[in-house]
């Protein structure tokens, strides 16, 4: 069922960020994976790639559709979830846990102010 954990920040394009110091772990929300349906392919970017807030950094595909994954924060990718290559369905099964996509070293802490908390994100879905 729909779930939006309170320890995360959200981008309106259905992406989340878990911030730990200057590194943020990124993924897509329950709503995003539910809308997409069964994820069958995740094409991760390379470590070292610069991502920009509000821009696509990866693609996630269901049987029927391709969807851009939007970066909630800017920075350099320091790690990608290689396990999603063999098990992209993890994005459906555990979108906030093992279904994480990349870790980013954030370049601009002030960007966090533009993100939504769980209640505000859930409210915009209603």
């Amino acid at each position: 069922m729909a779930d939006y954990p309170h320890d995360l920040l959200y981008h309106p394009e259905h992406d989340w960020a878990r911030i730990d110091g200057d590194v943020a772990t990124l993924g897509i929300t329950w709503f995003a994976q539910d809308s997409l349906g069964e994820v069958v392919f995740f094409d991760p970017p390379a470590v070292g790639t610069q991502v920009r807030q509000g821009e696509s950094y990866a693609e996630v595909e269901s049987v029927k559709a391709v969807s851009d994954v939007i970066a909630p924060l800017s920075g350099e990718i320091v790690e990608v979830n290689e396990a999603l290559g063999d098990a992209p369905e993890t994005i459906n099964d555990d979108p906030y846990g093992d279904g994480w996509m990349v870790k980013v070293r954030c370049s601009d802490p002030s960007e966090r102010d533009a993100l939504l908390d769980a209640d505000a994100y859930a409210a915009q879905l209603a």
């Binding site: 809308s35 349906g37 069964e38 069958v40 392919f41 094409d43 693609e59 595909e61 269901s62 049987v63 029927k64 391709v66 290559g85």
Partner: protein, 359 residues
């Protein structure tokens, strides 16, 4: 998210049952149709391994009747309509004068002078207008039967076995039809399908569709949506109009020369004969990726050509599709490169069908 459609979407007779079954309903060719229930992969495998059912009531029907019904359809349809036995079914295409494909169709012969032709939803109105525009001089009546029929496809290795106890007679053989009672209601049962599996398609009055649906559901047939129908037909290499067939290309290019009998003199036969004689410049081929990625409609083939259908094959576990490629690159085994949104993906031309039960 998609913007709300301003047009009014039509609903099939089974709409409430789809909603109750948890279907995701989406706009498709002017209809609000179930795209998936439990999940595409699960529904796909249910059809491959056991049995699934699809509401395809959005598809259109045209009845052609009268003394010249046969002569008229022979003039309009690419295949040899005279070869359809009473109660038989035949796949065919509808061509423009220049050979461009207007639709692909199934025609059922209900009587010597009465035929029922199943159209694609998006083409139905255009098909009827085209047929009527060419009916001058023929003693024939064309009746739009879209509103008179709901249509269910029951497909899978167990489909016939699960359907048989619900029917008051013998199920028709492949490419044959029978007027039977199914779950107590009258239906035209056709030994046809669009999945590469055995099964039947059932045409019945919209008010009777619920009884058949309920009986099949109770028998253990899994509801399957349009998304699984698409992955199943693509593994079987069946064409989808609007993807693999279009007015700008002809049936020879599409690999449908087998259902074009130019000797019958159908509209477009001269153009089709010319392409058959000279050889087409491009051909539609099935292909599979040899590495990661999923092809999609509109992806360019490096060196010329384009993908017209693509998906991840649930049975094969790799990206598969169909593409028009230059004729000299259409041989089975030819290596292709496909540009998937800027990334070149390796593929190889395959034989039809992409998926075969016995490997």
């Amino acid at each position: 998210m998609a913007a709300a459609a301003s047009e009014t979407l039509r609903r099939t007779a089974l709409f409430d049952r789809h909603a109750a079954a948890g279907a995701r309903l989406v706009p498709f060719a002017g209809w609000e149709m179930p795209v998936q229930y439990a999940g595409v992969r699960e529904e796909h495998l249910a059809v491959r391994e056991r049995a699934g059912m699809f509401d395809v009531s959005h598809m259109g029907e045209v009845e052609t009747r009268g003394p010249d019904a046969l002569a008229f359809l022979q003039r309009m349809l690419s295949n040899d309509v005279a070869a359809i036995p009473l109660g038989g079914a035949q796949y065919t295409v509808l061509c423009r004068e220049d050979g461009g494909v207007l639709d692909d169709l199934f025609t059922y012969r209900l009587a010597d002078d009465r035929f029922l032709t199943v159209t694609n939803a998006a083409n139905h109105a255009r098909d009827i207008a085209w047929l009527r525009a060419h009916a001058g001089g023929f003693d024939v009546e064309l009746v739009d039967r879209l509103d008179d029929y709901a249509m269910l496809a029951v497909q899978g290795p167990a489909a016939r076995g699960l359907l048989a106890p619900l029917v008051d007679g013998e199920l028709p053989a492949r490419f044959h039809t029978a007027e039977l009672r199914v779950a107590g209601v009258p239906a035209l049962v056709c030994g046809t399908g669009y999945t590469g599996e055995d099964g039947a398609e059932l045409l019945c009055g919209p008010a009777d569709a619920g009884a058949i649906w309920d009986a099949l559901l109770a028998a253990g047939v899994a509801p399957a949506g349009l998304a699984a129908r698409d992955t199943l037909r693509l593994e079987a290499c069946y064409h989808l109009y609007g993807n693999d067939l279009m007015e700008s290309r002809g049936p020879i290019e599409a690999g449908l020369g087998w259902c074009c009998k130019e000797a019958t003199g159908f509209v477009g036969s001269e153009a089709v004969a010319a392409v058959r004689a000279s050889g087409p410049a491009e051909r539609l081929v099935p292909f599979a990726f040899t590495g990661p990625g999923i092809p999609r409609q509109g992806n360019a083939v490096v060196g010329g050509g384009e993908v017209t259908s693509g998906t991840l094959s649930p049975c094969l576990g790799v990206g598969v599709g169909m593409a028009y490629v230059p004729a000299d690159r259409a041989a089975v085994g030819t290596a292709l490169e496909i540009d998937v949104r800027g990334k070149l993906r390796a593929a190889v031309v395959k034989d039809k069908p992409l998926y075969r039960k016995d490997g």
